[in-house]
């Protein structure tokens, strides 16, 4: 659902409070809503104290990995000998995820404020916001907001620049993103060295996701305890999170809820449930790179880092893809595999060959040319694609394939046995 819309009673609106309000996009409008107050105070605060507060809040990275944000910041060198950099990951490209786009469209100043605070905390003089090339509208809105706020001089000595991507999912991987900023092909780097030691331009660097950074000003404003108290299930998952719901659902859109919120309620209440006459078949709760859940698992899954792991999947980016009983799982899994094959940077053999062959075998099954042994072959391939490459793109391709075959095997078998009409793939 687009904005403006009234939040559902069960939503906890922190980050999305000003979504749908065009005035919040302007510098004056943002200041009138209390914006940049926290930044002014933060710039006068010792960076170490800010890091401690963010650590205490329990905030974890919202890009997908869920790494504790304060801890990540604390990895930056204590003694500053070289320039420090902050890179903001606004390369939102994970299928099913469209939260950062909404943040940038409606509250560009929230991102700029969070960015400046983070830069101060890690003692960076320069921050690059890496926005995917296709996000023309968020780019234009951010550019305007940045010009206004810079003119007002709110960033102190910190310089913020926008860097436009040019079409490459892999640039959302933090080391690929840094290479892309440096004017290189977006190939992920081998770690170590980790970015805090040697990042963009070989200097100490921190990379944070958009949603992570916009959570920082409210945390500093209201205190770590306030943020930490927003947790419905596990003390390790705190605060609110935006969930992007899409696919076969009555009211697709972004919904902000407290960590630990039941996926069942997100689907059936906030998002309006299935389309008329349809039933839930499957759901991917954290963007296309995490294992698929069947109906029972979806309806008992709690949306936090631990709750998703308990159901054999991951919270990831919070991109919730819904499949109803009309969905052809074999076809959709092929589309996901094709996505990863298209987006592989082709550095690692397991990924370059694995994503391409996975796609070809799935296409073969769909066109009625598959054999029973193809399913074992796919699983064998997936095994070789997991945990063996520089980055996790290859693992991400394997996740929906393995979970898909495990949970929806009969759909694959129907194509192989000739019981289902072949489709052009």
């Amino acid at each position: 659902m687009g904005y403006p819309h009234k939040p559902h009673a069960k939503e906890t609106v922190v980050l999305s409070k000003h979504f749908g309000d065009p005035e919040a996009r302007t510098y004056k409008g943002w200041v009138r809503r209390g914006g940049y107050d926290t930044l002014h105070k933060a710039l006068a605060t010792d960076p170490a104290a800010i890091i401690e507060e963010v650590k205490a809040s329990g905030l974890r990275g919202r890009g997908g990995a869920g790494f504790p944000t304060g801890l990540k910041w604390s990895f930056m060198p204590k003694e500053k000998k070289k320039p420090h950099y902050l890179c903001v990951n606004a390369d939102e490209s994970e299928p099913g995820t469209f939260k950062d786009r909404e943040i940038m469209r409606w509250t560009p100043h929230a991102l700029l404020e969070g960015t400046a605070i983070a830069a101060h905390a890690i003692r960076a003089e320069v921050a690059y916001i890496y926005v995917r090339g296709e996000f023309t509208e968020p780019l234009a809105i951010l550019e305007k907001a940045l010009a206004e706020a810079s003119t007002a001089g709110v960033f102190g000595g910190i310089k913020i620049y926008l860097h436009r991507g040019a079409g490459a999912y892999i640039c959302g991987e933090e080391t690929a993103l840094m290479n892309s900023i440096e004017g290189k092909r977006g190939n992920p780097r081998i770690k170590p060295p980790f970015p805090a030691a040697s990042g963009v331009f070989g200097m100490p660097t921190t990379i944070n996701n958009v949603e992570t950074l916009v959570a920082v000003p409210p945390i500093l404003k209201n205190g770590a305890a306030w943020y930490k108290a927003m947790s419905l299930s596990n003390p390790k998952s705190t605060g609110t999170k935006l969930f992007s719901v899409c696919g076969h659902i009555a009211k697709p859109g972004n919904y902000e809820v407290t960590m630990g919120f039941p996926l069942k309620d997100l689907l059936y209440e906030l998002s309006g449930g299935m389309r008329p006459g349809r039933t839930l078949k499957a759901c991917i709760p954290g963007g296309s790179s995490v294992p698929i859940l069947n109906r029972e698992e979806s309806e008992s899954c709690l949306l936090d880092y631990e709750g998703c792991v308990e159901r054999g999947t991951m919270l990831g980016s919070g991109g919730v893809i819904v499949f109803d009983d009309t969905a052809d799982m074999v076809y959709q899994i092929m589309r996901l595999a094709r996505f990863y094959a298209h987006e592989s940077c082709a550095q690692c053999t397991q990924c370059r060959e694995g994503t391409a062959w996975t796609t070809r075998i799935l296409e073969r099954i769909l066109t009625g040319q598959g054999a029973t042994k193809d399913l074992d072959l796919l699983l064998d391939l997936a095994d070789n694609m997991t945990g063996k490459t520089i980055c996790v793109l290859s693992d991400s391709c394997a996740a929906p394939v393995v979970s898909g075959i495990k949970k929806f095997k009969s759909e694959f078998e129907a194509y192989i046995a000739g019981k289902k009409r072949p489709v052009a793939a």
């Binding site: 786009r101 296709e134 310089k159 999912y169 076969h248 996505f339």
Partner: protein, 165 residues
Amino acid sequence: MSAGTQEYQAVFAGKPRAQLEEVLTRYPTKQAALLPALWLVQRERGWISDRSMTEVAEVLGLTPAYVKGVVTFYTMYHQHPVGRNFVQICTTSPCNLCGAEDVVRAMLEHTGAKDLGATSSDGQWTVIEVECLGACGFATPMLINDDFIESVTPERVAELVKKYR
């Protein structure tokens, strides 16, 4: 000069040159200005020719082969001229579930582009499928040039084509 060869007009003169100079101040290396420089070329020329890649290489102190290596990595840089209206339609799973492939078919038909990646005979339209555009809740999203359009259905295609024609 052989017949049919036109003298190359540099992209980085006048305003684009000034813009590039400003971009260079943002980074500690010249090389880091490569992606922005390529965007400037594409904005000025509509696509990035081998000759323009050579110019970018000269301006930034890189080799033409290096620049080509970067251009070919990123899908949004055009290595060939495209139609006046360049259409990118998302067909990744979430949009696929919501009928994105029907939108592609309708677009190919109404624009006369006929095949994906081909340009219509009047030079007006090139239509391609792209992977996730990051607007899955607004299926099916498409980019027409720099305009990001949400919630396109096959029924809306005729009106859109008319608007941009």
